[in-house]
Symmetry: C2
Subunit: 359 residues, 2 copies
């Protein structure tokens, strides 16, 4: 166990946004929310799964919806607590701790708010090792863990609970209700024991995010090449460098969808990279050919600062580097690729691990 | 208390379809479902509110969605039981009985199925005295009774539970999930004590429906004018007689919406009546002028048999009589008209009680 204070949170939110691969929420709002919680309720204890009892029950908490909306509409805090408590009440057993369901600027620290306010342990793992747009896309699904009892709450005081026959049905219902709630909701789901999570969860995600965040911060101070430093910290590959020339986005069915176009500079001069996204980056293609795709991570970094740029923050003229990062090995299994492989997102192609093209 | 057997159900479903004012579900499917339940589980006991204890808890059960879909997709029975039991489990107190939330060919008998299968009393009242398209449109809303805990289930085994801050929010969320469930769901809602229902519910609806059904049946045997007989039994007024010349319908956001056009015959010859509907009939206009509107009932009867015709059964060439029936007095209060008056449905006009125009 180690204590997380305000100074750790900045690094976690920043580093998690690198793993968030364009999504997972805005790190600035995540930081504000978690900082305030620690100021109001005291520091948070970060536990590894090994430091908890096997039958302890963990319920992850997160924001669901289009991150584009989140920038304008702050959660009020009570909403996520309502969702978390509803699952606990429904199960009728004490919930020992909370964790992140995905890595992302916001969703890595939302549970930190819950942990601070309810004085509960925060667990150093998540269900993706990155961010994904749909609710069933978690390593829990690969191991048969149910997303329900699922609870979602809005800032008005509405709560919706579900018991479904599949995690995909939870996604379907919850997406509709999220749209009704204003394209954003706060959710609690995938209750599981520590024993099950030792197999099903991606461990160490919060510590990894913090390490990445620290690396970016240090690179700035030391005036090192921040992109290279981040790339090395995550074991990634440089895919492209260029200037954002166009971003076409739409908020559709509660998702932020669209394409970003980047004109190459330096050794990429004359080439054009296209990134398609649905909350998160799904595929990067150079001059029409897909070069990196889900489930591998595609991260856009500011060339000068190494800061990850979320899809909603992408703007014309930004000078960026695009890096590809190998995903957790669970995603490369048959079940994993069924859930989050390129075909699920409508790409008629086999998945090629990023290191096979760039390693 | 009196016993309802198979022979009572036919009359109830038929008569309730008159009160269903075009909606409330198909009486044929309702009849099949309730008959089968009585065959399998035995007769049902119909209680008045006065025959129950003041603190007994009643949870109404119903079908939600577009009745057009219901014709093709039978509920499997477990769905409505799941919804009913979920509300009971959530409240954590025994539920004494069930009742209809609205009068309608299907929704008057859905709770009869629940009562038969779970061996519970069925209560002789409802929340409308007619049918309405949206979930918050019940007399319970006028008296501040919450629709939540609300449960909805589909035939696959999915259940969604809600706690909302208003009955309109329940409608919003439940409508979306109903669309996801295939434009139809089975629901349990508006838990209330007998004491509260004595003020808030419309009493005697099931007996009234049975009486109307009996009247239609007898008129056929005695070769009396069936339309006149029904009109007298419900205290209604003849608005129009004619032949259906056109029906424009669409299934939109989980509702069956549209307009039906009727060319006048006999003393109405040369005139055209238009009926606009959203599951139920909302307004009838003759040559462009609204003559009857919500909350009063607009019912279309087959001229020859006196059978009520639901919006989904309306076809070109049918010879029909249109009757207007005064609604329950609760709907004529300020709160009632706010919920279901013509303005709520987009008509820029004041409500004029049907008997003021035709009485």
């Amino acid at each position: 166990m180690r204590i997380l204070t305000e100074s750790n949170i900045e690094d976690i939110a920043l580093g998690a946004a690198v793993l968030g691969t364009g999504g997972g929420g805005d790190p600035y709002i995540g930081k504000l929310m978690a900082r305030q919680a620690i100021r109001d309720y005291g520091p948070v204890e970060l536990y590894t799964l090994d430091e908890l009892a096997d039958d302890d029950l963990i319920v992850p908490t997160a924001m669901m919806g289009a991150p584009t909306v989140m920038v304008e509409k702050m959660p009020n805090g009570d909403d996520i607590i309502n969702a978390f408590k509803s699952v606990g009440k429904y199960i009728g057993k004490p919930i020992k701790a909370t964790m992140s369901i995905e890595a992302g600027g916001l969703n890595s620290v939302v549970p930190l708010y819950v942990a601070a306010r309810l004085r509960l342990p925060f667990v150093d793992c998540d269900g993706m090792g990155r961010a994904f747009p749909e609710l069933q896309m978690v390593t829990h699904s690969i191991y048969g863990i149910s997303s329900t009892p699922f609870a979602m709450s809005d800032e008005r005081g509405n709560t919706v609970l579900m018991e479904t026959i599949s995690n995909k049905w939870t996604e379907t219902f919850a997406r509709s209700v999220t749209v009704n709630m204003g394209a954003m909701s706060m959710i609690a789901l995938y209750a599981a024991t520590v024993k099950d999570l030792k197999t099903a969860a991606v461990q160490g995600t919060i510590s990894l995010a913090e390490e990445i965040g620290k690396t970016i911060r240090r690179a700035r101070i030391q005036e090192a090449d921040p992109v290279k430093t981040v790339r090395e910290a995550v074991g990634g590959f440089e895919i492209f460098k260029g200037k954002i020339s166009d971003v076409a986005r739409r908020t559709e069915a509660g998702f932020a969808k669209g394409d970003a176009f980047i004109d190459g500079i330096d050794e990429y001069s004359g080439k054009k990279l296209k990134i398609s996204f649905q909350n998160e980056h799904l595929a990067a293609s150079i001059d029409g050919e897909v070069v990196v795709s889900v489930p591998d991570l595609i991260t856009i970094l500011d060339i000068d600062t190494g800061e990850p740029i979320t899809t909603e923050a992408m703007r014309y003229g930004y000078r960026v580097a695009v890096i590809g990062i190998p995903c957790d090995k669970r995603w490369r299994t048959e079940k994993g690729l069924e859930l989050v492989g390129p075909r699920y997102f409508g790409y008629d192609m086999d998945y090629v691990p990023v290191e096979e093209r760039y390693g």
